[in-house]
């Protein structure tokens, strides 16, 4: 049986991962050659001949065929690519094109799971990523969906980790990996991750604020999920995932406790989370308003200006910020507050 519930021999069954891989193979092969040539041009330069060759690579016809139809696609014809990819995977595979700083295109092909019960679509497998394709936040990707760019949760980053986790002597099947990713996606990450968290979480990643990041995700999970539903979804696999693949001790601790909670305690959790969310937001604002000496003249500048002005290159300012005593002090304060807040929710609070 496949995921549609019909037997694989059914005329309208969804193509399996293996079949999708076979269908897309000529296109992926072409993309690899294109990217190799592009990198050469971008890094080493070339000649007029190379420019002409690049033009011909982009215009080259690629013969591909799906279960029922043959197509001729070109990288320079995005409509033909879309039509073919839709037909190859019935909308389960998405191809996103981005223009790089050099002006040349970069490609991202991924397998997407659209779940009616999720706010976000789930990217469960990266089929191809061009070198240099811009992914600023590993947790989210923006994909053009019905004419609009929509955020999707990028769970494909956990695929290898899940494969290792499920490997009990015999290799885990792609279906098993998918099943676990769907489960954590729908029950945990769809609520725990939100695109509004990006400034906070990216700051936490770059300025080493692990407790703050855990606290944000925990609060969102408590506030955006239905806890009754969540406690029914707790499985050993999910708990193992949260300790081995995506280390999130706070959410793991919550999910371990959830099945044993009384109803009133369960009801109290979102209420406490709401007030703690306000408190954490205030603490984070205080952290972001901390002034650090910056620039040629070491003028006092609040951290938020530096973060917002360098959002796509936070790594560059993180090194400079790390040297500041004021940042270190503010960081320690915020981390302490976040840790206490997690503790209050998990151990001392209603839980």
């Amino acid at each position: 049986m496949n995921e549609t519930g019909y037997a694989d021999t059914h005329l309208y069954s969804s193509p399996t991962g293996e079949e999708i891989g076979r269908t897309l193979a000529p296109l992926l092969e072409h993309l690899r050659s294109y990217d190799a040539f592009r990198l050469q041009l971008e890094k080493d330069g070339g000649t007029v001949i190379d420019i002409a060759s690049m033009t011909s690579i982009l215009n080259e016809s690629i013969d591909v065929s799906t279960r029922y139809q043959s197509y001729i696609v070109r990288l320079s014809d995005q409509t033909s690519l879309r039509r073919f990819i839709w037909s190859a995977a019935y909308g389960n595979v998405h191809m996103q094109v981005r223009q790089l700083a050099s002006g040349l295109p970069a490609y991202y092909l991924c397998r997407v799971r659209r779940d009616y019960w999720c706010n976000y679509g789930l990217v469960v497998e990266d089929l191809y990523t061009s070198p240099g394709y811009p992914i600023h936040d590993e947790r989210f990707v923006q994909l053009m969906d019905l004419g609009r760019e929509v955020y999707h949760l990028r769970l494909s980053q956990f695929r290898d980790g899940v494969r290792t986790m499920l490997d009990n002597g015999s290799a885990a099947s792609p279906e098993d990996i998918d099943r676990l990713l769907y489960s954590v996606g729908r029950n945990v990450f769809d609520s725990a991750w939100h695109e509004d968290q990006r400034p906070g979480v990216l700051t936490a990643d770059n300025l080493d604020l692990p407790f703050f990041k855990q606290a944000i995700e925990l609060l969102y999970l408590l506030l955006s999920s239905d806890l009754c539903e969540l406690r029914r979804a707790v499985t050993d696999d999910i708990l193992q995932f949260l300790s081995e693949v995506y280390e999130q001790p706070a959410i793991r601790a919550l999910m371990t406790k959830l099945p044993d909670l009384e109803g009133d305690a369960l009801n109290d959790l979102p209420r406490s989370a709401l007030s703690l969310y306000v408190r954490l937001s205030r603490d984070f604002s205080r952290f972001m308003n901390t002034e650090v000496a910056w620039g040629r003249k070491n003028r006092p500048t609040p951290i938020y200006k530096l973060v917002f002005a360098n959002f796509s290159r936070l790594g560059l300012i993180a090194t400079q910020l790390a040297r500041s005593d004021a940042v270190e002090e503010a960081r320690a304060l915020l981390e302490g507050r976040a840790e206490a807040m997690i503790d209050e929710l998990i151990n001392n609070g209603s839980a």
Partner: protein, 716 residues
């Protein structure tokens, strides 16, 4: 003893219940009982949702209303700060800017940046006397002479303009930073800083980075840069340091004097690096003041080979940002010594590639650029412009209008059946009109619409539903099956059903008001159109009829003109209530604009009405000057397209479409009299004579009443 709660306490209880239910995770809205909880359920609607396609449509709507309100308030604040009095009829000089909200920047911050951009541009438009360009007009006409430098005059003038642009923006930012309630402008500056690639590819980018953002960027001393880039950054920063220090202590009135000195000092600091007058043709290098620096061409590329420097490498900066990728490559290619094509022609693929493009480097590069544009540009016109493309545009046009402004428009691909159900496709954009705050204009419009509204003030539009009638089945012969002596036979054998249309009190019919707003409409025609629209909206305000009203013409989206539908009122898309919809009519321009695509636009609006009607009656009122314009390719004329469209629409409506055409400035026939239910012509002489129009409307009302009585009689 329990007392009856007061109104205030009841409100508090309701709020508490809602809060509790939110906290408990139950969804309060009955319309979305199956929807997952979202952030809006516990944190409320934020500005960031306004243009975030990941949010629910009905979450975006209130956020959008908030966004436009804040934008307007900030525009009013800067106008006031500029010394212009602001009244209720305030008309912003610039459109609300939306581009930052369509980038990959966090949505809440991006919305603030968009508000800041709108405020900045509004201020710039309001203070022509504070614009550095105006003050430095004489200098900019011939900066080489004023600064006594021997650089190429044309290059130096372009440089001076670029520097003036950056310094002017910096001065305006400084000026605005002193006003209260305008933190969004600083947010816009931070947003622009985040869009920089930090490659410093051109001279203007170097100047901009130092003058506008040097206080928030990481130190470039830690980057790997070409030595020319590093040297130029150092020079510009050294000169600017003094001025940046003086900025905060300078009075607003003296800022321009500071700016003049700043521009000239920066230009003079860069001048030694620019190509001299005699080297104009080369535009390559400069031997002056001991500098051996190059623009746009590395030493390695001058070794006599046709070598193109790395597209993404650490090259020297270009003099100016090229307009396209082809120009960039040409710029980087520079002047190639010897015969550049000798090797190429002799190569195995050379003749093949050159056969259809002509044997010039430029032709190859242009073909390359157009191919790359197709491969990495927008896939189709109706889609939102991709965030990476918006970011690229904003990078090259900081502190000026972005590609997305005004009301948020959505693109649609529409398929219309014409003639023998022949499908024709076209794309159009739709947006919602922002209501006017001009009370005087609103009052005037209401006054003009009054006689027509009074003529219309009867509920003319009953719903029509199909009712199954049971009839006795009779055979055609003399033998009546009903009289046959039969033992036990089901009644169904002798029954048959017929369907009749009857007036129904159940269900809400939809009144679709379609206004042609194209350029062919003169001021008087537009005034009548506005009065009629206002009258129809007013007369149906307290009825059960659902109203949908829109104007169609064309608008410019992504640099090209496209058919556009602007909703005056749409129950699911408008940001105003039904009673305030006339304010959107008041916001319509005084005369028509653009070219319309009649059949395409009317088809799209009718489809929207049908979705709203859900198999109930649709009353379409089309107000037009009947100067139709073709929507589709083919042999049909525009009038034929309209005729065929209406015919197909009637055929597919199952009797649930009633159409009235109000033909403005038409004295004779429109060609649609035979097909449509009603045609009201308003000749030129009666265009602004609203009493005469009201009389015609009265006749229309009378005919509708007769029609209604007939329909209702069937229902009894």
């Amino acid at each position: 003893m329990r007392t009856k709660p007061t109104k205030k306490r009841r409100g508090a209880r309701r709020r508490a219940r809602a809060e509790l239910s939110r906290a408990q995770g139950t969804v309060t809205s009955s319309a979305y009982s199956y929807r997952r909880k979202s952030k809006a359920d516990w944190a409320g609607v934020s500005l960031g949702s306004a243009f975030n396609a990941s949010c629910d449509y009905y979450e975006r709507l209130p956020a959008r209303a908030l966004f436009y309100r804040f934008t307007r308030e900030s525009q009013m604040a800067v106008t006031e700060y500029a010394g212009v009095s602001v009244g209720p009829g305030f008309e912003p000089a610039t459109k609300p800017q939306l581009s930052p909200a369509y980038t990959g920047y966090p949505s809440a911050l991006a919305a603030l940046a968009a508000i800041g951009q709108s405020a900045f541009l509004e201020f710039e438009a309001r203070v022509p006397e504070r614009i550095l360009f105006t003050r430095m007009d004489g200098y900019l006409a011939d900066p080489t002479r004023h600064d006594e430098v021997d650089s190429d005059p044309e290059v130096y003038q372009r440089l001076a303009r670029a520097v003036t642009r950056s310094v002017q923006s910096r001065l305006l930012l400084e000026d605005l930073s002193r006003a209260r309630r305008l933190t969004s402008i600083e947010m816009y500056r931070l947003f622009l800083a985040s869009q920089l690639t930090m490659r410093f590819r051109s001279l203007p980018e170097i100047v901009e980075s130092v003058v506008l953002y040097s206080d928030v960027l990481p130190s470039w001393e830690e980057f790997e840069l070409h030595r020319t880039t590093r040297k130029l950054l150092q020079e510009v920063a050294d000169v600017s340091e003094r001025y940046l220090g003086l900025l905060s202590g300078t009075e607003s009135e003296r800022l321009l004097d500071l700016g003049i000195g700043w521009v000239r000092d920066v230009c003079k600091a860069i001048a030694p690096y620019l190509p001299g007058d005699e080297e104009k043709e080369d535009a390559l290098s400069r031997n002056g003041s001991g500098h051996q620096l190059l623009f746009g061409q590395d030493e390695a590329a001058l070794d006599g080979e046709e070598k193109i420097p790395p597209l993404d490498g650490l090259g020297p900066p270009m003099l100016f940002e090229p307009e396209s990728l082809a120009d960039q490559v040409v710029e980087q290619l520079g002047q190639i010594a010897g015969n550049p094509f000798a090797a190429f022609r002799e190569s195995s693929i050379g003749p093949l590639l050159l056969s259809d493009v002509g044997d010039t480097t430029t032709a190859i590069l242009r073909r390359f650029a157009s191919t790359v544009c197709r491969a990495s540009g927008r896939a189709s016109e109706w889609e939102d412009i991709r965030s990476d493309l918006v970011e690229a545009i904003l990078r090259s046009s900081a502190f000026s209008e972005g590609p997305l402004q005004g009301a948020a428009a959505s693109g649609h691909e529409v398929t219309v059946l014409l003639g023998d159900n022949e499908p024709m496709s076209g794309a159009l954009f739709e947006e919602v009109i922002q209501p006017s705050d001009d009370s005087a204009e609103y009052e005037r419009l209401m006054q003009e619409a009054k006689p027509i509204a009074e003529a219309l003030r009867r509920q003319l539009y009953p719903n029509v539903e199909d009712t199954a009638q049971v009839e006795r089945a009779r055979t055609s012969g003399t033998l009546d099956a009903g009289r046959l002596a039969l033992g036990d036979v089901s009644d169904a054998v002798f029954r048959r059903y017929s369907f009749e249309q009857r007036a129904s009190r159940r269900g809400r019919p939809v009144l679709l008001l379609v206004c042609d707003g194209s350029g062919s409409l003169r001021e008087s025609q537009m005034a009548t159109l506005k009065a009629l629209s206002a009258a129809w909206l007013t007369s149906t305000a307290r009825t059960r009829i659902q109203v949908l009203a829109g104007l169609y013409h064309s608008g410019v989206f992504h640099g090209a003109s496209h058919p556009t539908v602007e909703w005056i009122y749409h129950p699911r898309k408008s940001l105003v209530s039904r009673s305030e919809a006339v304010r959107s009519v008041a916001a319509l321009p005084k005369r028509g604009s653009g070219n319309q695509a009649d059949a395409l636009s009317v088809a799209f609006m009718l489809e929207e009405a049908r979705q709203l009607a859900q198999d109930r009656m649709v009353y379409l009122i089309l107000i037009s000057d009947t100067e139709w314009i073709r929507s589709f390719s083919g042999n049909r004329t525009a009038a034929q397209e309209m005729f065929d469209f209406f015919q197909t629409a009637y055929d597919g409506s199952d009797g649930k479409l009633h159409t009235t055409l109000v033909a403005l400035n038409v004295d004779g026939k429109t060609g649609l009299e035979e097909l449509l239910d009603n045609v009201i012509t308003v000749p030129e002489a009666e265009l602004t004579d609203y009493a005469a129009v009201a009389e015609k409307i009265s006749l229309y009302v009378a005919s509708m009443m007769v029609e209604r009585r007939r329909t209702e009689a069937k229902g009894r």
